[in-house]
Amino acid sequence: MLGYIVKRILAVIPVMAIVALIVFLILRLTPGDPAAIIAGDTATPDQIASLRESMGLNEPIYVQFFQWIGQLLHGDLGTSLLSGTSVNALIADRIWPTLNIALLSIVMSVAIAVPLGTLAAWRHGRFGDHVVMAISVAGFSVPAFVVGYVLIKVFAADLRWLPVQGYRAPSQGMGEFLRHAILPAMTLTAAYVALTARMTRASLLNVLGEDYIRTAHAKGVKDVTVLLRHGLRNAAVPILTVVGTGFAMLLSGVVVVESVFNIPGIGRLTIDAVMARDYPVIQGMILLTSGIYVLVNLLIDIAYTVFDPRIRY
């Protein structure tokens, strides 16, 4: 097991190296000049050129690349071209809102989606199934920002139950955190519930066709027990997988949600950095999110062993 984990972590290195290379190349091929944005709209070409020079943007790309890699190996993601802040500090500052909200929405999604998917599988082909699947597919079919706006309009602007925007850390009180986080989390949850409920249903339907389900019935076990004890646990691995790959979707979703709800997370940090061509920040962010993605998938692979004793590494 430990050996497997070490091996998996080592296997991450080439992937991350390729990510780093792709990211670097894509960014430097992208038109845009951070010097121009720093200098402002009314700056003259000369002013921008001198700024470019002093920022090191005139170095050949490969020099910049190896400088960056050199920094990376020291755990240093570089310095934001715009604010002069270290990227490590920026990320450390901005990652918690995103993680906390993402986590809240995963917990909410799983709590909603698994029972829904189970219900659909149980009522397979009948009315309950159709209703659940219609809801899930619908959740999948509406853009996140629309969901966000509707939630704001209903729960914040009209009913005034919840704040419109902003973020409070759990340290500022769990109640405040939830009051602010619940709408953004629900926005993210819409698509995530859809994804997870569908997978739960599909996976459970597969499992319900297995011989051991028939065995359980033949033993005289109650239907509900068969469904939950024999069905759900065997269906867990694909569900876990989709939770993991869905995490990537979630990281994309936060970009939108953080804009709509004004949450100072890494999604907005990234979009702002892209818009301003703040290369070190974008590079750091993509590396970070890729790293999180790879890590989450590793954790999920390890979690498989909890659900399925046949899987041993």
């Binding site: 091996k7 011989d211 033949a218 005289g220 076990v221 027990t225 399925d308 046949r310």
Partner: protein, 559 residues
Amino acid sequence: MATRFKTQDFDPADEVIAIDRLCVELGTAEGGRRVLDEVSLTIRLGETACLVGESGSGKSLTSLAVMGLLPANAIRVTSGSIRLGDTDLLTRSAREIRAMRGSRMSMIFQEPMTALNPVMRVGHQIAEVLEAHGIGSTSERRRRVLDIMAQVHLPDVERVYRSYPHQLSGGQRQRIMIAMALILEPALLIADEPTTALDVTTQQQILGLISELQRVHGTAVLFITHDMGVVSEIADTVHVMRQGRIVESAPAERLFRTPQHDYTKALLDAVPSLHPRQPRPQETRPPVLDVESLGKTYESGGFLKKHVAKRAAEDVTFQLRPGRTLGIVGESGSGKSTVARCVMRLIDPTDGTIRLGDADITRLSPGQLRSRRAKIQIVFQDPYRSLNPRRKIVSSLIEGPINFGLPRNQAIERARTLLETVGLPADALDCYPHQFSGGQRQRIAIARAVAMEPDVIVADEAVSALDVSVQDQVLHLLEDLQRDLGIAILFITHDLRVAAQICDDVIVMQHGKVVEHGTAGDVLVSPRHAYTRALIEAAPGRGWDFAAGREIAREETNA
């Protein structure tokens, strides 16, 4: 050793289950296809009733109908009754039926690997029967589970209790299933092909166990099987099913000695004899396939992991001459299929040499090999997977010849001729595989191999998935082709009966090694190796000549 049928008279015993004119139809609406047609049978206390028949005859449907496990939205019972003791099952609510499952009637299935929940400890799975029926405290249940596990002769019950199914052997898993079925001492045990997926030696043990427990508990057993050998070993009463009907019911001995119905006779006729056929004259032409010291080792692990080398085949040597059939027999995992696949170069051998005709093909690159492929062809076990379901029969048949430069129209002509040779109409060319039965598909697969005009055909369990009657026909087809075309056949099988009927020479493999090699007569009649003897001993109904309806003469068996 003479065959002894069970002859106990059950007439005075209480009826445990009585099925009366049961009809079952497909679909939920009126007028669906009738899959069970007035099935009636009765089993009494302590009686073993065997339900035999070929695929699709309705054996399993009957058992599922009794258990109340027919898929509700696809199949329904239209008339008839099933009485368990004095309860009419068809009038009971789903809840009441559930309460009876596991306690008054229980069932074991064919494939113990898939029938057990892979993520639950087997002890808990047995204990769940007790839990579902609200019996005992946790510790009480555990005690009873360990007790029944000991009764089914599981070793080290404490450890097995905590094991997951994948950590047990096939035989152990089936014992778990049996323990699960019998822990509440049900009046009726339904065993649906419980030994079909097991090796022959394991099968013998499981059959023995079922009989033993039946004696102890006085259970009525409904035993479903397609294997006449098994029937002859365990049945008190035999019911022969065909196309949803019971065509003949009789006490075992009477059925085997004096079958009444034509279908029963045909079934019995098709059972190959364990006694080898007459040896054919020796062949002296040089071998077409010459395998020497063949070995295949799978290596796994490596970086940060323990290095494991698994020897799937080791030091296998044989020669195959034109027009001859060499059988490789053994149980699962013996390495017989590894040898077949190495010879085909579908996998690369790690040791030894393979000579095909005068060429050493052991180390040829895929490109060099391609030109020699025509000389050696293969027929696989599963007729449903060996033909590309998306391509017409003609495409499958002409693919090889066209690869070797035959013009398309000539290839089609050859395909048409071949189809007739294997006994299919020529218009089958434009059909798709799913339009054919398993036996027909296997004929097509053989035609595809023969179309290449090979010197050697490797038949890898080529008849194992077929019903006995079909199996018989396919074996004859192979024999005819061999006679007409002089093809050499390497015949891989686990079934000694089949090997006895088609092979000139036999290799017995165990754990990747050859333990015995000789003519079919030598190996099967007077085996020298203990393992070969054990295999023969374990073959069910080995003392009975099914086709003739009599014991195999004593001198013949021991000659």
